[in-house]
Amino acid sequence: MKALLSMEGLTGGYGDADILLDVSLHVDADEIVAIVGPNGAGKSTAMKSVFGLLTIRGGKMLFDGDDITRWAPNRIVQRGICYVPQVDNIFREMSIHENLEMGGFLRKGDLSAAYERIYTLFPDLKERYRTPAGSLSGGQRQMVAMGRALMLDPKLLLLDEPTAGLSPKYMEQIFQICRDVRDTGVAILLVEQHAKQALAFADRGYVLAAGRNRHEGSGANLLADREVAEMFLGG
């Protein structure tokens, strides 16, 4: 089967130094792929590279048949990739509702169903939909960020540590949402530090370390790998 997103031999970084060194990965339609690895391994950088937010010096990226290596971010969004960054992932001065509105910026027509869906997922947000997102708690912000991404109907969802700072209850819920979303035909690529949980429910996983591919395989295989467990999953 042809991959939905594929990164081939990507090399690049911020400024002069290369952070990513020959990184290759791919995501097929209908699958959840997890990236794990130590802090500073380049996981977030790999995600940003999809949107051209850094200098790419080698390799290329294909999405759904198009070479998107040098596309403008807003065009990529239009093409069907949605991204939740790890930090700075909300509009602080806008209300929760407006954040969601911005998520649906490209969508035409009536969005009330989409709002309804988000608010049922995160009832906390509904109560305070006019609060500026910047005054929310860490976990609530994460919900807003997820909500914003879910407003669009993307083909591929990139999530950078979606569960960081969320309570165990919501963490479970996020993973559940991911599965639900996948079942509606959206592929998901996510970075997680809750690596065990993530690999347990992902279809496939990659381990990145020091900017390079280290391991890859199905979630279960990686979990079973002793070296991976010791080095990256906390024993």
Binding site: N39, G165, L166, E172, Q193, F232, G234
Partner: protein
Amino acid sequence: MLELDQLVMDFGKFRAVNNCSFRVGEGSITGLIGPNGAGKTTLFNLIAGAFHPSSGSIRFLGEDVTGLASHQLFHKGLVRTFQIPHEFHKLTALENLMMVPPSQPGESLFSNWFAWRKVSSAERDVERQAYEALDFLELTHVAHEPAGNLSGGQKKLLELGRTMMTDAKLVLLDEPAAGVNRTLLRKLETKIEILNRDRGYTFILIEHDMEMIEKLCAPVICMAEGRVLIEGDFQTVRSNPQVLEAYLGETTGDVA
């Protein structure tokens, strides 16, 4: 060591902390858990002097410290980390740590101009200490990188590193584990235990990682909607039905 009495914090009409009272014993590691938006971080902000409580009082080491500014509290021995990293983004990682120790001679214009020797010898000590912290946090290779360029997890580690740079009596840690690699996290847990046992630091720890709470904390306080829901040891708190419902989720209490 720390006593909170009927603390209330209002943001406009919204009450984020509602009549919170509890005590933290000297030498303990208190765990603070609760659903998102329960008011945990706000409570930290109150204790650390970043916000002024709408009402209620805070006593620290037997002294009423309500309304003191954060820098004054710091000098009394209270250090905190931020949930959302507040790194100094243009300073290097090393400098982020080196700026922490209080009352450095080089912070006065006079000694910089007229007592340079004293300043530079103090600098060497601070630098050594900072490198030790970086080594421990596996950040040595980015010591000279501006902190703004660090990865999300590295910034969190740097936050934690700052608390290692001063002789604190009470350390407030706000979700130190979020975004930190699990292998490294196990190391951090050990470090916290050591600091607690050997150096006598008292900790209050906000976490959503139950494994870490279980391993380190006694007692555990669970907050919800600005109030203290229950206080007790980990097992008691975890098996409380309200906690299960509001926080851990009905399906599973064990996420490990």
